[in-house]
Symmetry: C2
Subunit: 471 residues, 2 copies
């Protein structure tokens, strides 16, 4: 008999950590205003790579913590907590958590602020109050940042199950940890000046408490989360359609797909964030009805993606469980870049665990683990003989997840980069590959930014504007 975790209904699944959702946001403007007067201040600045390119902005972590996406995390980690996470991917409370979440500063910034342990320090963004951190500890991060980044993501020697190639500067997540400043401030954070999201982000900003309320109001019993950082082509859409059938308790299809886009630092050549969000939205609204509008919702999380494949899948599971989802779709190369990890590293984690990272059981079957359940999906490809997108299965040699292809034909896969090549040539892809409503969204933002993909200009603008304005 297989090991099966408890089953919850969507919206009622407990937040991660066994307690209540974190909501460290001071909405009461009079109460909030008092904090704006705090004189001990630190300005939030982007993390820069050696060439000075911004690769992360910690304001996104402040927001995700305070609005409960990272529940039970209430603030930035202490040195002990970082060590615990690196040792066994657990918080000091014992709950699973994949990454050190640190608020890094230079020693000069710390000294200039005049802050000391026990203080409430105002964190400003673009010179305006954003949040307060109650300083629990000020400590030095490891001197050797390369070793620190390796400790976060793994090495082929130490993590033979899933790491294939040593990480380097081309891996954006590794680069973030590599580029952290020398010290870190630990402590709880509160947003004391709730930012206003700019268009079009504002309608996709549906933090956990709201997302749970929405799910309950819709009467959805099973909801599958879909991680995205892409404008959806039909292959993605079909993956979601099929995942909707899998996510349930094996007796019925799920009720809805919750698309959650990771919005943060971008790389040249990516789709722009606005097109990603509106492209997914176009599948159920604004003309396209490929998903019934009552079965589909598009949301976002602020996070500079670390591309940690299996590790990232734990964070993704935590975020979407906190948002009220019962299931999380994981496919090939989940949250991956390059060939660092095995393409099915995430599937391996969710069926066998990753003992080399101190994770001895699958995240949803371990004590103080997640309650959200994985949906293991192979790739799909359009099969002209079947006349539909057919399932290519999962070749991972683990009985819990190994899957044969659905049909006996040999359909050709269409790569995302091939598709991007078509689009930039001005060719409207056939609707069997990309929905016209989605292409329209790409063209819309192409006109706004002068190019369909992320450029240096877009990167600069993005870092200047971020996704929010502060009142």
């Amino acid at each position: 008999m297989p090991r099966v975790p408890e089953v919850y209904y969507a919206g009622e699944i407990p937040p991660h950590g066994g307690g209540t959702l974190v909501y460290n946001v001071i909405d009461n403007i009079d109460k909030a205003r008092q904090y704006w007067e705090i004189k001990t201040r630190i300005e939030i600045k982007p993390t820069l790579d050696p060439k000075g390119v911004p690769v992360r902005n910690v304001y996104r972590e402040v927001m995700s913590i305070a609005y409960g996406f990272f529940t039970p995390l209430e603030g930035f980690m202490t040195q002990n907590e970082v060590e615990s996470v690196l040792k066994e991917r657990r918080l000091l409370s014992g709950w699973l958590f994949p990454y050190p979440i640190v608020f890094d500063v230079t020693e000069e910034e710390w000294k200039a602020s005049g802050a000391k342990v026990g203080d409430e320090v105002l964190l400003t963004l673009k010179g305006k109050p954003l949040a307060v951190i109650k300083v629990e500890e000020f400590y030095k991060l490891p001197e050797d940042k390369k070793a620190f980044a390796d400790a976060v993501f793994g090495t082929p020697e130490r993590n033979k199950e899933v790491v294939r190639v040593p990480f380097d500067e081309k891996m954006p997540g590794w680069l973030i940890y590599r580029c952290l400043k020398s010290h870190a401030i630990a402590g709880r954070v509160w947003v004391v000046n709730p930012p206003k999201f700019r268009e079009p982000y504002v309608r996709f900003w549906i933090p956990p408490a709201q997302s749970r309320a929405y799910i309950k109001a819709k009467g959805w019993r099973f909801v599958v989360a879909h991680q995205t950082r892409n404008v959806p082509h039909v292959g993605h859409e079909m993956l979601m359609r099929r995942a909707l059938f899998v996510a349930g308790i094996g007796e019925r299809p799920a009720d809805a797909v919750l698309v959650n886009a990771i919005i943060g630092a971008k790389r040249r050549g990516d789709y722009v964030d606005e097109a990603i969000l509106e492209g997914h939205e176009a599948l159920s609204r604004g003309g396209g009805y490929y998903f019934h509008a009552d079965r589909h919702i598009v949301t976002m999380t602020l996070w500079d993606m670390r591309y940690g494949n299996p590790l990232e899948s734990i964070l993704h599971g935590i975020i979407r469980q906190n948002m009220g989802c019962t299931h999380h779709m994981f496919g090939r190369d989940h949250a991956a870049v390059g060939d660092y990890y095995d393409p099915y590293a995430t599937q391996y984690l969710w069926t066998r665990g990753l003992p080399s990272y101190g994770i001895n059981e699958p995240p949803h079957l371990t004590d103080k683990g997640l309650k959200i359940r994985p949906v293991h999906m192979g790739e799909l490809a359009f099969c002209p003989k079947c006349g539909e997108w057919t399932y290519l299965g999962i070749p991972l040699d683990v009985p819990e997840v190994k899957q044969l292809p659905l049909c006996g034909h040999k359909p050709e896969r269409i790569s995302g980069s091939f598709l991007r090549g078509l689009i930039i040539e001005g060719i409207k892809p056939p609707s069997v590959i990309m929905r016209p409503e989605v292409h329209d969204v790409i063209v819309k933002w192409w006109k706004v930014y002068g190019y369909p993909y992320v450029t240096d200009k877009y990167l600069k603008l993005k870092e200047e504007q971020l996704e929010v304005e502060l009142p």
Copy 2:
């Protein structure tokens, strides 16, 4: 939290009744031969309707009992057991069972045989030994066969949850009970002369013990059963493809579809049995590879279908659980004919139970119930805008099973009778509606029988030949 039954792997799921599989077949020819000499004999004759048309042949029940399809049933029911089944759809042992299974004879047949209680009586078919029944009881069936048939299937007055229209002679199952002879013999049966199946049946005759061994050899962990009495059009194929995604434990698609065709009494206009079996087979073998051959198996059960919709679904669940399947797909109008039952009567049963039949809980959630799990599937239709078969959902107003349509378009359904109309006009349906390999099978048997569907001539031949020859 939803109620969730225990999860088993395919091939290892316990047979119905909590014990071992019934296998009342004497394979040892020397041992079997002794029984052939029994002088107390009864010849198996078809059940005839008032016009003399055969509507059932009890040899099929003898076979299904002896080979374990109806496990834990080992023989024909006593009067007490029939009453227990009619009262609460349970055997005297307490295990769920939907129908009285009776070996009916006339008083004259009984007297002519010279049999008495305690005897072993040889049952002959076409004059040759087939089986032995150890007589436990000889009793009179209810005089009023119409009332008896109503007691089996229900009435709109007594079974308001699901019966919409009173049953009558046009309902084949009701007609069978209506036409039973006056008396019944109860007792265990053994096949003492294992019949040889004729072509093409022989390769589809895979009784429970063999089916379980096959599933284990393939390494299938989750197998969804598909009930059929039809040559598959693409809509059926897509239902199976989608059901394959649902059947699992909500974490991965199932491994395989086990198609189980009910082979027995036919009605004019039905597809011929040979085409049904080979038509399904053509989806994975013989040229069509719409299912990977290692994900698909076509099998048969001998049974004169009773068309009892929710009641039939219990029997179907029992048969396929005994065959080793973990899941059973139930769609709209499961095993239904006409408008007697609510189209979603089966879904109602498997989510709420049917208290008016004495079934107070869903079959898989009740004590001494089934271990196989239902997969609730709505209909599918080809949606030209989506470019694929889209899910139409389930409109039943029961939260456990209610499903919205997948897309927001309004695709047209294609009816099976429309398709049959096309075929008889000599039109090869487009491959988006019927696979050419399946159409070829229809044409093959059209040539053999001079017509693509069941005719009086076919009915006569079928009753003469049955599916087997006796050595």
